[in-house]
Amino acid sequence: MNNERSQTSSVEAVKPPRMRIGVVGWLRANLFSTWYNSLLTLVTLYVLWQVVPPFIRWAFIDSLWTSTGEECQAVDGACWSIIPANIRFIMFGFYTYSEQWRPAIAVVVLVGLLVYSQYRCNWKKRLIYIWLAGLVGMGVLMRGGIFGLTPVESTKWGGLPLTLLLSVFGLTAAYPLGIVLALGRQSRMPAVKSLCVVYIELIRGVPLISLLFMSSVVFPLFLPEGVTVNKILRAQVAIILFTAAYIAEVVRGGLQGMSRGQYEAAESLGLKYHQTMRLIILPQALKIVIPPSVSILISAFKDTSLVVIIALYDLLKTTQSVLGDPRWMGYSPEAYIFLALIYFICCFYMSNFSRKLEHQLDTGR
């Protein structure tokens, strides 16, 4: 048998072929690795070349940023001036002009709460109290009537605060209901289980718009004579009922993901049902379901735009009203692109957070 001696120390460092490293190597591997890929690259570059420069010219070079509607008519480019000229109405709707600092602060508080809640080191019990305090504070700011703040009817609330309120409050109020529904669906008692199943499948099977219609025209019929509830509250209830069904399914997934061993350990310690749930199962299950819950928050945030259809002045409707103004007619693309950017930034931030969190929870196990 041969003894193949090694050539370890006598080999000088050999460099990889030059065409395979650095910029050229990257281009070769990623864009031009096969004839088929090269063709795709060229076609994509061509399409981009056709689309991007005209768009840049329209959006940035020929565009106007602060002008009046008439000045915009004369120019070919984008009329972004529609935004700064109407920003306060778009953002706050019909809220009393002089008091608009209040919803502005409310929005900042809410965003601050959301940012604070991202960091896992803050996930302690006091987070719930901080949220409660924050939401109550927001309500007081918006509503007024105490602490010397002039009262502002909720019918006048609109724009970004309304969108945020409907989605965030909707999710937070829907969560307890969702947990109850999920537990009920898992229950072995047939009556409870059927009620929960019927509710969840019914709500998940219908579009949100039908529930919003219901809130708008049918809820008033449910109330005794003389009792009226304002439109925003009705829409909020519809959103809560809707979101709760989706949360129930997500929590159910989390509960099913818990190993049987946890239930058995709790039982053998002698814990009662509600203690088991409160102390052992739910804390673990809810941690698992945070990423899909963020998903639901993102959907809720996007879905608030539907209240346009029942004539509530959220961000989308305020923008549409501005477009109805004869001075600013015809500039829908600019207005919608601006709105799209707002939604995109918020949703992208949230979904990124959800992805990072999922990754952390996965690797942390």
Partner: protein
């Protein structure tokens, strides 16, 4: 020497090499994962490759059936050179069988279908013939009664034996084993090693990446030690374990053989 182990001094005809690797280099980006590999594998020869993790042993055998691509040097299998030529690659893959650390059985097919897939779609064998051959190999690895089950219903050791049978169905000339027992529970390692010893006894050319030194001692013609992408030492098992030449080899052996 153990009576049941294959005769190690049986000469592997050195000039009729079935695998020839000449000055092969491979980089992952800038990282030089395989350096200056030169190796000749004769027909019926059995080689065990060992070394610390990251030494490039798996990458080496994966280059032989083009699961990895080498950038410099030549690899010739059964007279066919391994290049970008797709036809060559296909021919080589039909002659080279591979057994993976994680078995990689197809979960959506029965055991029998797992085995007949290759012969029917690559060698265009009729179904009956393919199934008969499959049952023959399943009997060989002593798992014929599981033919209609699905991989998810089998234990790790059983799955790996099926994986070996699946490769054998293509009647390969060379079998590559990439740490075949590393993912198995200890009590299942023996059943897989026994199958591999049977294969060796029948004269299969085998390249095995493994930490099972007992297997190396009893079955291998040569043991290769790899470190940092190079073949540091290569020798007969007796010489290798009793008389390691290089410090790195000695260090590795001292860590592995407690």
């Amino acid at each position: 020497m153990n009576q049941t182990s294959p005769n190690q001094t049986e000469p592997a005809t050195a000039d009729d090499a079935i695998i020839e690797i000449i000055d092969m280099h491979k980089w992952f980006g800038e990282f030089h994962v395989l350096q200056n590999i030169t190796l000749k594998v004769a027909r019926k020869e059995r080689i065990v490759i060992c070394g610390p993790s990251g030494s490039g042993k798996s990458t080496l055998i994966r280059c032989i059936n083009r699961l990895e691509e080498h950038q410099k040097g030549r690899i010739i299998v059964d007279g066919i050179e391994l290049t970008n030529n797709v036809k060559n690659i296909e021919k080589i893959r039909a002659e080279v069988g591979m057994v993976f650390q994680h078995f990689n059985l197809f979960p959506h097919l029965t055991i029998l279908d797992n085995l007949t897939l290759g012969p029917m779609w690559v060698r265009k064998v009729p179904r009956k013939e393919a199934e008969d051959a499959a049952m023959h190999y399943l009997e060989k690895v002593q798992i014929a009664e599981q033919a209609k089950k699905y991989p998810g219903q089998l234990s790790g050791g059983q799955q790996q034996r099926v994986a070996i049978a699946r490769s054998l169905c293509m009647a390969p000339k060379v079998m590559l084993f990439d740490e075949p027992t590393s993912a198995l529970d200890p009590e299942m390692i023996k059943e897989v090693l026994d199958v591999m010893i049977d294969l060796a006894r029948e004269g299969m050319t085998m390249l095995v990446v493994t930490h099972e030194m007992g297997f190396a001692k009893s079955v291998a013609h040569r043991v290769l030690f790899m470190d940092y992408g190079q073949i540091v030492e290569a020798n007969t098992p007796d010489e290798f374990f009793d008389n390691p030449q290089h410090d790195r080899t000695k260090l590795f052996l001292s860590q592995i053989l407690q």
